[in-house]
């Protein structure tokens, strides 16, 4: 696994770039932590008070010095202290991450288990009614904003069925699996709907391509059944684009789903980062963006490894 080692070696470089970018861009936004915290009352501070506070937050130093201090901490696993939470950034992130991870996995499960079979069905029934129905559904899924779907789901759950999903807090999977899944299933459907629509479209077109390939004709000439032609001969060849798409989408989901978290009042990574930005909680923003970037890199590496498992012609490092 020479390739994996090589890729892992590039991680620190990419993360270094990401950290500089975040560090600078968050400071380019007008306003600072003091104003964000005190609001209009910040105007009442004397310059001495302001200087004391600035020293406390470490924002009195020049930007490069701030960066070096923060960067030095990284090597000791110290991402800094969150101003809003008053706790180490890493522990705040790790508190919020399980929800995001579970939500992302659940959404992907829904997307793949609905999208791939629907795409395959549409491809094999090309241009017939069921294909058209699937295509319309997919178009709808891709064009419906998640807040519309989320609000509809909440409306039907609470008003029609009288069920209110738990909001505000999160029950981790390890504490009570059933309650945890029950809490996330509707947000996951909301997220998974658009995801499934993309998966459907891409599996349909990939399957259509593959079904026209010569080896499919060979399989048929051997007397293989329609089912075997589709599932064992065609599908493995059509999965590469599906994996690519799922990898990218999953990577995004691991960065948190701001809108859906907001609608269902879930304490996930998305809202954490959003609040950190509005509060100018510099350490928390830097820490979470770095964390999200790292996840993205890991997902990409996994996608590469899945390619190899799917197609024997693909060799790592030679694409």
């Amino acid at each position: 696994m020479n390739y994996v080692a090589q890729r892992l070696l590039t991680f620190p470089l990419i993360l270094l770039g990401v950290s500089v970018l975040v560090f600078v861009s968050i400071r380019l936004i007008p306003g600072d932590a003091i104003t964000a915290m005190l609001g209009t009352e910040a105007g009442l501070l004397t310059s001495e008070q302001r200087a004391v506070l600035a020293r406390y937050f470490g924002i009195d130093q020049p930007i490069w010095s701030q960066y070096l201090t923060w960067f030095g901490g990284l090597f000791q696993g110290d991402l800094g202290i969150s101003v809003t939470f008053g706790r180490p950034v890493l522990s705040v992130i790790l508190d919020h991450f399980p929800l995001t991870l579970e939500l992302a996995l659940l959404s992907m499960l829904i997307a793949l288990s609905a999208g791939v079979p629907l795409g395959v069905l549409a491809a094999t029934r090309n241009e017939r009614t069921s294909d058209l129905v699937v295509r319309v559904l997919a178009m709808l899924g891709q064009s419906t904003p998640s807040f519309v779907l989320g609000l509809l789901i909440i409306y039907f759950l609470s008003v029609v069925f009288g069920v209110v999903p738990t909001m505000g807090t999160f029950t981790p999977l390890t504490v009570d699996p059933l309650a945890s899944l029950g809490q996330l299933v509707f947000p996951a459907i909301t997220l998974g709907f658009a995801f499934a629509a993309s998966v459907t479209r891409i599996s349909r077109s990939a399957m259509l391509d593959v079904l026209g390939d010569d080896y499919i004709r060979t399989a048929r000439s051997k007397g293989a059944s329609a089912r075997s032609v589709v599932w064992t001969h065609a599908l493995p060849n059509a999965l590469i684009p599906v994996v690519t798409l799922s990898g990218v989408e999953f990577g995004y989901l691991l960065g948190g789903a701001v809108i859906v978290e907001q609608i269902f009042a879930l304490p996930g990574l998305g809202r954490l980062v959003l609040n950190a930005i509005t509060q100018r909680d510099y350490a928390l923003v830097q820490g979470s963006v770095l964390f999200v970037a790292f996840n993205f890199l890991v997902v990409n590496l996994l996608v590469d490894l899945i390619y190899v498992a799917l197609d024997p012609r693909i060799r790592l490092g030679k694409r």
């Binding site: 080896y215 060979t218 000439s221 051997k222 007397g223 799917l310």
Partner: protein, 578 residues
């Protein structure tokens, strides 16, 4: 023959599209095939021969075809007669594989890339004989040995991309044989293969047919190829069977004009008897292109800092080309023919060696024509822009002079003047290749490199393009570097021949001398493998010689070549064990 033949096809019509009856590709074909008999179906592209083959097991349904009339009756193993045209998909599934096996033209794409070949062959056994598990694996190994795949046991775990084209075609045959079909349909099974590999596959098919007693429908565009294997021949043109009959009768006394035309158009290889007599080498002329010690290597296997080895694509190649002369470079795929062409044009980097172009009459003395006329013309440009391209690339303006030259060349290559405003898709394959030739002549070159330039064309079109090339050569005093794997075509156009094997020239000299008395063992093997109508009674021995690997460790240098003169302008490389 017996009362009920194995297969009876009556007035078969097949159409495509939304209104199949209005878009018929097959317009009424009838024939009968007795058990154990071999029928060759011959025709040019678009004649409907493949559609006919795919209709027999109704695979044509999956390509959008519908049988619009006529009938196909198949006598099954138990003696019952199945009406294939009316059969359900369920019945057909048991016909495919069990009664009718099939092999296809493209061995490169006809095997599933994500499954091992073992798994694909085992599937055939499972589907048609109900053999599973260890027994299926043993059976797969046995059938691989039957198609002469060396080291069959390990090869079972190979994926298709790890095998050569010839090997893959053997795997396809093994898969078709798994069910011991009573009818094998072979749709251009050797077209994509080299001649020596083609000879191996043909010999294998003939042997297996004798062993199993299966009937065969052999589809091909090459009437010379089937002469040795077919009992009967059916000639197709534009969806109709224009003539059918017993092989010897049809070849010796063709009745239909089209059959005669086809037989005449097929390039006959006559072992150096039919080489050109015009434009012989003139000792006084200076070479227009001189290649000395050309070496091209491609690094393989990335070590940490430097490659672990190299593919020795071309090694120590040298020759010269005089004005007005054709030098053919022959050899099989992977022998380095095209690499030489690209190196001469500077399209790839030389590792070592020198290519010198003599003082020609333009700045760009060498131009090129490629194999695939469909892929080498930009579909978005009209002919005028296509022809202007070389001039524009050479910083000329698209002025009246350039347009005059376009018109002159269009006329010379036999295309109408109004072609200028048309687009490539409005031309046939042969016309497109004429366009490519015209484009290559735009800058008035001294040398044209023709890389398999007629290989993708139908035989009758091929014959006309060859004549055109010879005429143009005389008119413009062109020198051709003619790269081809087809010995019959080479014989017709070349003055001199260079034979390439594994990156090296093994024999070079006057075309008549090399083709009539080949000296090197490889040249002999190559010439013996050429199929021809005249030599149809010869039997090929199954020969499984493989081309040696060209991958060498880093720093490897081959021993210097030693040559021997075999006559006036005929040099042969000494073989290692000679």
């Amino acid at each position: 023959m017996t009362a009920s033949p194995l297969l009876r096809v009556r007035d078969l019509r097949v159409g495509f599209g939304r209104q199949p009856a209005a878009n018929e590709v097959l317009k009424g074909v009838s024939f009968e095939l007795a058990a154990g008999e071999t029928l060759a179906v011959v025709g040019e592209s678009g004649s409907g021969k493949s559609v006919m083959a795919l209709s027999v097991n109704r695979l044509v349904d999956f390509g959008g075809g519908r049988i619009t009339g006529g009938g196909i009756e198949l006598c099954r193993r138990d003696g019952s007669i199945l009406d294939v045209t009316g059969a359900t998909e369920h019945d057909l599934r048991h016909v495919r594989g069990r009664d009718i096996g099939m092999i296809f033209q493209e061995p490169m794409t006809s095997l599933n890339p994500v499954h091992t070949i073992g798994r694909q062959i085992e599937e055939a056994f499972r589907l048609n004989r109900g053999i599973t598990g260890g027994a299926a694996r043993a059976a797969a190994r046995e059938v691989l040995e039957r198609v002469r795949i060396p080291d069959a046991k390990t090869r079972l775990d190979y994926f298709p991309h790890q095998l050569s084209g010839g090997m893959r075609q053997r795997v396809m045959i093994a898969m078709a044989l798994a069910s011991s079909p009573r009818l094998l349909i072979a749709d251009e099974p050797t077209t994509a293969l080299d001649v020596t590999v083609q000879a191996q596959i043909m010999a294998l098919l003939a042997e297996l047919r004798a062993e199993t007693g299966m009937a065969m429908i052999f589809i091909t565009h090459d009437i010379g190829l089937v002469a040795g294997i077919a009992d009967r021949i059916l000639v197709m043109q534009a969806g109709l069977a224009v003539e059918q009959g017993e092989t010897t009768r049809l070849l010796d006394h063709p009745e239909h004009d089209y059959t005669r035309h086809l037989l005449k158009a097929v390039p006959h290889f006559s072992a150096g008897q039919a080489t050109r007599k015009d434009g012989k080498r003139d000792g006084a002329a200076l070479p227009i292109v001189k290649v000395e010690g050309l070496v091209v290597r491609f690094p393989v296997g990335t070590g940490l800092f430097r490659p672990k080895g190299a593919v020795h694509a071309v090694d120590g190649v040298g020759f010269d080309l005089l004005p007005g002369e054709t030098l053919a470079i022959v050899g099989e795929s992977g022998s380095g023919k095209s690499t030489i062409a690209r190196a001469i044009l500077g399209l790839i980097e030389k590792t070592r060696g020198r290519v010198t172009a003599g003082a020609g009459h333009t700045r760009r003395p060498i131009q090129m024509v490629f194999q695939d006329p469909f892929a080498s013309l930009n579909p978005r440009l009209d002919v005028e822009s296509l022809l202007a391209e070389p001039a524009v690339a050479n910083r000329q303006r698209r002025d009246a002079g350039v347009r005059d030259r376009m018109r002159l060349l269009l006329d010379r290559v036999g295309l109408p003047q109004d072609a200028l405003s048309r687009y490539p898709h409005q031309f046939s394959g042969g016309q497109r290749q004429r366009l490519c030739i015209a484009r290559a002549l735009m800058l008035n070159p001294d040398v044209v490199v023709l890389d398999e330039a007629v290989s993708a064309l139908d035989v009758s079109v091929q014959a006309r393009v060859l004549e055109l090339l010879i005429d143009l050569q005389r008119e413009f005093g062109l020198a051709y570097l003619f790269i081809s794997h087809d010995m019959a075509v080479v014989e017709r156009i070349s003055h001199r021949v260079a034979v390439m094997y594994a990156g090296e020239i093994v024999e070079i000299g006057d075309a008549a001398a090399v083709l009539s008395s080949p000296q090197h063992s490889y040249t002999r093997r190559l010439i013996a493998a050429v199929p021809s109508v005249d030599r149809r009674h010869r039997h090929f021995a199954v020969d499984a010689t493989q081309v040696p690997s060209l991958v060498r460790p880093a720093g490897y240098e081959p021993a210097a070549a030693r040559w021997r003169e075999a006559g006036n302008d005929h040099r042969v490389r000494l073989e290692a064990d000679a």
